[in-house]
Subunit: 407 residues, 4 copies
């Protein structure tokens, strides 16, 4: 029998980490013995377990340890991470380690160092000189990079379910349902936002054009103006319809005030793009007095950065849109690590894109009228995202109202 | 060639009645000649067309006339309706006429008489003594009833699309979409409601339990108390969760204020039923001081009638529930003909049930977060229903707010 | 400190029963000590834990024990159940015990007796003479019934997740998604069905009319004829459209072969009801040679029982429909306890109705194109139901094909 | 009064073109007189109408003519189109003409010339030397281009509804519903495909990764191999999961054969990208014997072109992906004008992108389990697309089966 000692500690009982670990060991055909087991009893107390994991062959033992590492188990007998060199740009050595979006440390040169810019489905590149560990997507791997392989010396710290206090992230089951008391959910989100802002935290909004179509554009613009929103991730459609709505009062040709279709209104978004193209950029259109209100206007007036990522369905696009999607991802990466909360509104595309880049500690809310959007987000790994199935056209006004009245 | 003259009049051009008629004649293999054609040009003007419809045999001619009658064409050479006698309860003679939900008249004893209580998929029973025409479902046909058969002497008056003024029923396409400016839609509905109330009209609400689950129960209760709602159609679930929420603050065991699951809360709806059963009825529970607020409370306190129809999934049910569905339908029939507007909220079952009973002139709104509910309602014949895809938890508070502030 | 010893045994580690128990104790403000703890290591081995549960007052201790009892914990120091008498029909004494749908035993007169006909949200009535415990809904409680109250002497046995073999009920997460390999899911269901039939088990189908609308009626009819389906739960709509389709080739007026709308076809379902009303019942229509094929035909020809429950949206209804929903529930109760598997197809109403009556050991599949149907079923307590988001029009043909070819 | 004569001809009665024209004139406050009106009576006959359109001022008359031109009315007194010059790249002169996706001609130098590469929301650029009219998106307008402005000399030919024969594009209402007989719909699509292939037509498939997730990848691969599919539009996700599935048997880490989650399977798509990156491209991976089957394999082996457009959510991406979305659009434009039919499967993003580029004569089918996808496609102008609400995991196998067995 091959064996190895692993340690688990934290709220491993109630966060279900220990039972999951035991379950997987048995499921994979391994076995275990408890070496130590201390259960923390008070709220906040921590439990410890030391297990001897056993398997009939070395490969199986490796696979089991691999699984356990993902849920936070650490091999007791410490080894340094193993490194192999990439032989060609954008390629990886065999058995490379693929990251989770949880905080991760590697044991290198005898000490634990934190992996910077953690993000899921990436690789860990070690800068030997600086003794730094960097999380990098495959597209940024360069020939000669030292890449972590195997499973030794890696520590993953999955988030634990906090006991007691029920914030919006605790009380909502991940399963999205429209049959929830939406006003109280909005109240909780508002109070979470206020807490984040009070301590100087940052809030990102990822938004599809439905925010404008449903008439909530001015609300989002106010939230930017008032410093509630610190960064916008969106696409050409949001910006174009926001500008269309600022210039012509319509969105996709429908009057956003009355909801009535405007004659020839379906041409307005091309008019809007034409005006910005004439000016040179959104900023220049503002400087020239062409654009005087709206989401994009408030972003520029209040130095709130935005990333407009191109998509294959874009008309135009606006000059501010980054048409190369990999460049756009890089631009988004500049902001995600600093963000405390992300509110994703009515955009499966940009929500999944942002979800891919987010560390697991960032509180994320996905608001969509379609429950499938939330399900898909979870299927793609962003299980920490709280899904709210509601109408964005009513969600934003009510959230904003709550943010104002409760202060 | 067999032929027959038919007349069409009204806004037959812009309501597309004339082109549809011509189209169907050709499609079915018939032919036509224009005998007269006057186009109304001013807003409100009426057009007239007299057509000679031709077909190669009598059956085909009959079928074509049959089709045309449904869209409002009237055979010029007037004949009385043909009547046949039902030979057994709940059965019909061959070739019986099946009603639409549009206003309908029959030519009987040389004059046009209105069919009373018009409703789709029913039969016309003629009371020869009183010279009255009554719309009856198959389940209410008695042996010996005189039933309209064939297609002579029947005039159907489908609604025309009014020109000019855009109420909510005109500007919304029937196709339900969540990407509409919801606040302006709510404003239009509010103004429609206020107009109806001003002229003494009646408003029915058909509601599923989601109104309570999403926390909007108190809003609906206020709308009843303030005389906005004149009749409630619902099921055991709405009433039970309303009472659960009044007695224990929960709905399906979830606190409607905080959205948090309450320990053992899933038993509360049985507690609620138990309390009403002890008292004897909802009214007695109010009289005894057990039930002190909520939707059902306001109905009883304000003499707003309600029909609670049983369903196969009911727990309990409450003593006020009519467990026989055919009896419940009869009870609903007492109210639908007098209603000016119906607001259907989050219940496919009761919405389709109500839609089946409604004359086409009743303005109907179906609010649901699921676009499929609205599509199904249309598939089942209630094409006049305006579908609004939004969250009921936010719809009712915003509608109520609009009703209060705009007065 | 108040305390009580409880025992947990079974696959309490990997079915997450033990950690959930510890978690709830701490969450509710109680405390625990491990008295014994044996972990089963081999597949199939059983773990045992004996805990001393502590709380600062007796009420809290009671509440904690209450929670624990639901997940299968049994108080070590055995007491008999406490009984109180109902003082009025359909009413319950305070603190009555509300059942889960898991197998349940009560300790009465010094021994464990099984609660018969277990069903969720019901009460346990003890027949003192016969020493039997019967599960009864509130509507069937009679004055004088002895009803279990409190929490002593009750043992609930929640199902455990089996290790190893992955049947369809194990490998599918409860979260419904349309992005799953549907052919392999159908294969697994087919093999599960064949296994059940081989050992003489019974399969119920709960079906909405979409089975007929989508053209799969003949498939379901074949499954009945060939003895695969043992009982049908449905409503008037399924039966009416099935008969419409047998008599006129249409469903809701659309030709089920070509998908084209048939002229005047929307009257066919009334014709169908008329024909059955003339004959007197579905059986008589078959005896008279009027009805010659279809789902209802095969039910009657093959002595497969059916329960047609009335609903408020019914046209007609057919004479075989039980229009009183409480009577219809009672009729369904006659069958559910004997069933091994339930396949729910495209009907939220009848699926929830059936889910309410099912013991948790019955394997249940809910097939619907709308993910919300499955979510709602879970929200209402039927968490054991496996949801499959697919098109019923393609599901049944593929399932049937699989059932035939793999034999 | 200002007036102008316009002509309408074709199936203007039954395609509702004439009544719509009259309706809009009145709605906008104009008036009309019939100068000529000949109704075609036999199937295939054509109707002609000459109308004098009147308005109280010139602007209004212009607006009315503008509206009429979109539905196919042609001003009788012919003028040449008016041209203005673009003063800066990507910008347009005031009052530029924005195209529909219907066949369009312009009157230039005294004769009608066809606008090449017609596509919605674009501009008409006139090459004066070559006397050619080219449809160009705003992003491709160069300084100095001669651009059509105003409304003179433009003829739009919207498609007419063919009478009689009911192909899949005629019998299906645009409203997407899951309650349709899916097998007969699939049969009709199959026969449409066979007809197109028989006459040498081209079929494009636009597909999301759900085709692979649901296990239908091998079916699509066969359709490519057998020459049924002539061009593939997709994104990185489809290609990556197709290759993942070819190399490791999984899609998003789920085994496509058994539907079971594979340990560490969520890393497989990175492995797949790594393998292609190592080889250099998909083609090189095939040449080196790394990739041996699947959708992309068959594309390359059978010279079926593909356009893989980048998106902001891409992992990797594969070297074959065009990461600049505007370049990717250009690549798609090379193929769309030649295509006879487009089948869009489970991808809102790429479906809308393709819909934007398609001329209205291309038969388009959008298959999605979510009815909202189809609704959104229509909202964005692609009203000619037939929506089929079904499960792609069952749709493709049944379609392929139909294509094979009916030959």
């Amino acid at each position: 029998m091959y064996n190895r000692e692993v340690k688990l500690s934290g709220h491993i009982i109630d966060s279900l980490i220990l039972p999951k670990a035991l379950d997987r060991i048995l499921d994979m055909g391994g076995d275990f013995k408890f070496m130590e087991f201390t259960v923390g009893k008070l709220k906040g107390d921590i439990s410890h377990a030391k297990l001897l994991v056993e398997a009939s062959n070395e490969t199986l033992l490796g696979e089991i340890l691999d699984e356990l590492s993902e849920i936070g188990a650490v091999v007791v007998e410490l080894k340094d991470v193993e490194l192999l060199v990439s032989e060609k740009d954008k390629t990886l050595p065999a058995d490379f380690y693929s990251t989770t979006h949880h905080p991760t440390e590697i044991h290198y040169n005898g000490k634990w160092i934190t992996v910077e810019d953690i993000e899921m489905d990436c690789m860990i590149v070690v800068d030997k000189t600086a003794e730094r560990a960097l999380c990098r997507p495959i597209g940024q791997i360069n020939k000669g990079d030292h890449i972590v392989v195997g499973r030794d010396g890696i520590k993953v710290m999955p988030p634990e379910r906090p006991r007691g206090k029920q914030g919006v992230f605790e009380f909502m089951s991940s399963e999205a349902s429209s049959e929830k008391p939406i006003e109280s959910i909005i109240k909780k989100i508002a109070s979470e936002i206020k807490e984040i802002k009070k301590r100087g935290g940052k809030i990102a909004v990822v938004s599809g054009p439905a925010v404008v179509h449903t008439g909530s554009g001015p609300i989002l613009a106010s939230m930017i103006k008032e410093g509630i929103v610190d960064i916008i991730f969106a696409g050409n459609a949001l910006a174009t319809h926001d500008i269309e709505s600022a210039l012509y009062g319509t969105s996709l040709g429908t009057c956003v005030k009355t909801g009535e279709a405007v004659r020839r209104g379906h041409r307005h978004h091309i008019y809007a793009i034409n005006e910005i193209n004439k000016a040179g950029s959104i900023k220049e259109a503002i400087d020239k007095g062409v654009l005087k209100k709206g989401i994009m206007y408030e972003c520029i007036k209040n130095d709130v950065p935005y990333v407009l990522a191109g998509s294959i369905r874009d008309d135009g696009p606006l000059p501010d849109v980054i048409t190369d999607v990999i460049e756009a991802q890089e631009e988004m990466r500049k902001y995600v690590q600093d963000v405390d909360m992300v509110i994703m509104i009515s955009t499966m595309l940009h929500s999944i894109a942002t979800g891919n880049l987010l560390p697991s500690h960032v509180k994320s809310i996905c608001v969509d009228i379609n429950p499938a959007t939330v399900t898909k987000l979870s299927d793609r790994g962003s299980a920490q995202v709280v899904g709210i199935v509601t109408d964005v056209g009513t969600f934003l006004p009510m959230l904003y109202n709550e943010l104002k009245t409760e202060q």
